[in-house]
């Protein structure tokens, strides 16, 4: 049951984009088409889960025993960057179709603060390894949900008469704000 609550909280209540306000760049940048949004979402789920697990190990076995907790951010950035590079190389060699379908999204994730945020939240909340894995996957799904919803709205906005000054990113940010307000309705369901 705890795991279920953890998943609900990660996807809806503490949605990484709409409640934590992390990963706004890719959220606005890759939410113009639903198909692109799904690709980016899946890439984030995959990388976030791997990054959270590895950084959990780094924290647990390297930083905490050596009392080096203050190096957490810079260490995690280093680990995530290296991880993404490795994953990119691995996929290119082993699973070329998946590599091609992920395309530009993998390098984009290197600088995606949502992934770093998920890894740091896991440490702050002192999750176990299993909880870290579940939370990171669920947070990735939350990111994907927000992205797909946003893409759906923006596809329709593209067809609508919109004042020129609001077209594109400005209207995207307004919509993101409104979506964020809507997600606040989940507050209280779980913490």
């Amino acid at each position: 049951m705890d795991y279920f609550v953890l998943v609900i909280a990660a996807i809806f209540v503490n949605n990484i984009v709409l409640a934590q306000y992390l990963g706004n760049c890719p959220f606005i940048g890759t939410s113009k088409e639903t198909s692109v949004a799904v690709g980016m979402g899946l890439a984030v789920v995959f990388v976030a889960a791997m990054a959270a697990c590895i950084t959990w190990c780094v924290q647990k076995f390297m930083l905490t025993p050596n009392d080096l907790g203050y190096l957490q951010t810079i260490t995690f950035i280093l680990v995530i960057a290296a991880l993404v590079q490795f994953v990119e190389m691995f996929l290119k060699k082993a699973i070329p179709p998946l590599y091609k379908s992920l395309g530009i999204f993998l390098p984009l994730i290197t600088t995606n603060c949502a992934v770093l945020g998920i890894a740091i939240i896991c440490q702050r909340e002192e999750y176990t390894f299993i909880e870290t894995l579940i939370f990171s996957v669920a947070s990735g799904l939350g990111f994907m949900l927000a992205l797909v919803l946003m893409a759906g709205i923006r596809e329709r906005l593209d067809l609508s008469p919109v004042p020129v000054s609001l077209k594109g990113t400005p209207l995207g940010l307004i919509v993101a704000g409104l979506m964020s307000l809507a997600f606040f309705a989940f507050k209280g369901m779980a913490s």
Partner: protein, 700 residues
């Protein structure tokens, strides 16, 4: 603490570096350096027009051999040449492609639904895919205009997109967003090889034209003074607008929507004007041809079908050679149609323009005697087009048919065409009711004979053009309707003196839809004649196909050459046919159309192994586009065809009778066009329509 921090960070960094170094060695994937080179010379617009996801994808496609040097649709010749240089390929030139809106207008089709949603074609199409009366046509919300990155499309005065060919890069953005397929990215090859499809926007005239000419388009071009454009439109379907503008019986005009209100548009007159405009301008307009492929094709027969096939093969880049049995090209146009309808110097001028494209001709060579299918293959011809026409005459099957003074109409017309002695008498009887019979009769009048034309049905059932029937009457040809010959009477020396005939009455309609003539017993009578010309039908002479008593091709029950009706491919895959040899005696425009169809099939046979068609090909008239009445159309009289010589002067001269419209008259006639789409038409085109269109085009 600082030391341990540095050590930890350095350690993690080093570990990551080592892992990545090892991984890059183990997981190394070779990437052809040419991909980056090709990408660097592409246009860099990432427009997607090439079908690849961006320029990087296109570059990869080129290096992998999936795409050619011309992959970049907006780059033009320069980019293609650079790509070819990197890939070590040869590049000559790239066919120019542009977005083509295949609907010239009419007022907007009526809405079935009142739609008040987002003003976008895709939105409306999603909600009400059949929301217009016209199931194929443009919705008119201009999504294509917003999709064009290059500002090449604007909405025209009737709510149809208008493409500026100078700005269009053929990126395909408009084509992708159009939910109704109204816009197509086309090059010359695609336009030439396209057959009418039921999903095209086909006005009735266009559906009916055996040559599939885009009639509304060229009329619209003429209406705004773009005569060169009109001629180009016509020449994408037929190569001989000068000849066809004179001899076509214009079946298109039979279904013209204005014909439901008053007289149909003078479609053929407009075509003739455009063709004459070029001839009178003193210079030939350039005719574009695709780069040479070096593929040799034999075209047997230099009549309309053969000339058309050779012309289109040449335009598609191939090297055709025409084998002609006569001393000059033209077939029935030269030897069957008299000078007063089609002057030979005009025919020569037109044929010379076609041959100048680079078509070889071998005159006085007979198929089956001088060469055969197997010798053509031995000489390196990869495909053969057979279009020897239908020169064999049908017999009357009556007594004394072979008497002295009895000859077929085609033999007589051929002699006149070749300038030979005809031995025509003073009292001529012509038997038949088609155009050949009329041509024979009118030619006989010009040679000083007293002519009677005998036909077994009435005037209304005559298959000849009504203008020709009236013209012959005006020139003094006497008609003897409801009469069929029963016997030829001769004198002692065996020369014809009379024709015995029997009076007929019309019974029930036969398979042709015409009422079957039946003889009335006991009504035999005689008519005096010293020359009799028969013109009751022709068929192809197929004995030339037989080698050692065997024919590898299929002969139909009508004694024509059997072939697929759409691809015109015969039983031998590399042999194609068309024209009268395939259809039996038919119209010149039908032969020209079949020539293009065959050229298309040969092109596909050479480049794609086999000819092919889509399942949506238009064969019959599309029912729902054929109206029985056309309301709310303002009346405008049809311009009469001008005559070059008066009626009483005609009988003594072979000079051309009909003339060309003046520029003012042709503009007036073109503006009578209702600009029909599938189901829409211009109810009452304002006088200033032309001006509006020209203003918009200038603005573009």
């Amino acid at each position: 603490m600082i030391l341990s921090s540095v050590l930890v960070l350095f350690g993690i960094g080093l570990t990551a570096a080592i892992i990545l170094a090892v991984a890059s060695k183990l997981l190394y994937v070779y990437e052809d350096p040419r991909i980056a080179q090709v990408e660097a010379v592409l246009a860099g617009a990432n427009c997607g027009g090439c079908g690849y996801p961006g320029c990087a994808g296109a570059a990869q496609g080129v290096v992998e051999g999936k795409a050619g040097a011309t992959v970049c649709v907006i780059g033009g010749d320069t980019v293609a040449a650079n790509v070819a240089a990197i890939m070590g390929l040869e590049f000559s030139s790239m066919e120019k492609q542009i977005a083509f809106v295949d609907c010239t207008g009419g007022t907007r089709a009526e809405d079935v639904y009142v739609y008040e949603g987002i003003k976008d074609c895709r939105a409306q199409h999603l909600l009400y895919s059949g929301s217009k009366m016209c199931p194929e046509g443009c919705l008119g919300y201009g999504t294509c205009v917003t999709a064009c990155q290059f500002g090449a499309i604007e909405m025209g005065p009737n709510g149809y997109p208008v493409v500026d060919p100078n700005l269009c890069t053929a990126c395909g953005g408009c084509e992708q967003v159009c939910p109704r397929g109204v816009i197509t990215i086309w090059g010359m090859t695609a336009r030439i090889t396209h057959l009418n499809e039921i999903t095209d926007c086909l006005a009735p005239c266009r559906q009916r034209c055996p040559g599939q000419i885009n009639i509304p388009r060229y009329i619209e071009q003429v209406s705004r003074g773009d005569y060169a454009g009109a001629l180009e439109t016509i020449r994408e379907r037929i190569p001989m607008p000068l000849s066809i503008g004179r001899v076509c019986p214009h079946p298109c005009e039979e279904v013209c929507r204005r014909g439901h209100v008053e007289e149909p548009i003078g479609i053929n007159m407009i075509k003739r004007f455009a063709a004459d405009w070029e001839m009178h301008s003193g210079q030939r307009l350039p005719i574009a041809c695709a780069p040479d492929t070096g593929r040799k094709i034999a075209v047997v027969g230099g009549g309309p079908a053969g000339i058309s096939c050779a012309y289109f093969l040449r335009r598609l880049g191939h090297s055709p050679t025409i084998f002609e049995s006569m001393p000059a090209l033209g077939g029935q146009l030269r030897y069957g149609i008299p000078e007063y309808r089609l002057p030979k110097d005009i025919l020569d001028w037109e044929i010379q323009g076609i041959l100048d494209l680079g078509i070889d001709v071998k005159y006085n060579t007979f198929f089956g005697t001088d060469f055969s299918l197997s010798t053509l293959s031995d000489d390196g011809y990869e495909a053969v087009f057979l279009g020897i026409g239908a020169w064999m005459n049908m017999n009357l099957q009556i007594e004394n048919e072979a008497a002295d003074g009895v000859e077929t109409g085609t033999e007589f017309l051929t002699k006149v065409g070749l300038g030979l002695e005809t031995h025509i008498g003073k009292k001529v009887v012509v038997i038949g009711g088609g155009n050949t019979a009329i041509d024979t009769a009118r030619t006989s009048v010009r040679l000083g004979a007293d002519v009677t034309l005998m036909y077994r049905r009435t005037k209304d059932e005559m298959p000849a053009n009504i203008e020709e029937i009236i013209g012959a009457e005006e020139e003094g040809v006497t008609y003897l309707f409801l009469a069929a010959p029963t016997r030829i009477l001769t004198n002692e020396s065996g020369h014809v003196t009379h024709v015995e005939y029997i009076t007929m009455q019309l019974g029930d309609p036969d398979a042709s839809g015409r009422r079957r003539p039946e003889p009335i017993p006991g009504t035999e009578a005689k008519i005096e004649a010293d020359t009799v010309y028969t013109a009751i039908g022709q068929k192809p002479e197929l004995s030339c196909l037989y080698e050692d008593g065997h024919c590898a091709l299929e002969e139909t029950q009508w004694r024509t050459l059997g072939a697929d009706p759409d691809t015109l491919q015969t039983a031998l895959p590399h042999v194609f046919t068309g024209g009268d040899m395939h259809t039996g005696p038919a119209l010149v425009i039908t032969a020209l159309g079949e020539g293009r169809k065959a050229a298309r099939s040969i092109h596909q046979y050479l480049t794609e192994d086999a000819p092919h068609i889509t399942s949506t090909i238009q064969r019959e008239l599309i029912d729902y586009t054929m109206f029985t009445n056309v309301p709310d159309v303002g009346l405008r009289d049809r311009i009469p065809m001008p005559h070059l010589i008066e009626c009483d002067e005609r009988s003594g001269t072979f000079k051309e009778i009909e003339g060309t419209l003046s520029e003012t008259d042709v503009q007036y006639e073109a503006c009578r066009c209702l600009r029909c789409g599938l189901t829409c038409y211009n109810r009452d085109q304002p006088e200033n329509q032309t001006t509006e269109i020209m203003t918009i085009e200038k603005k573009l």
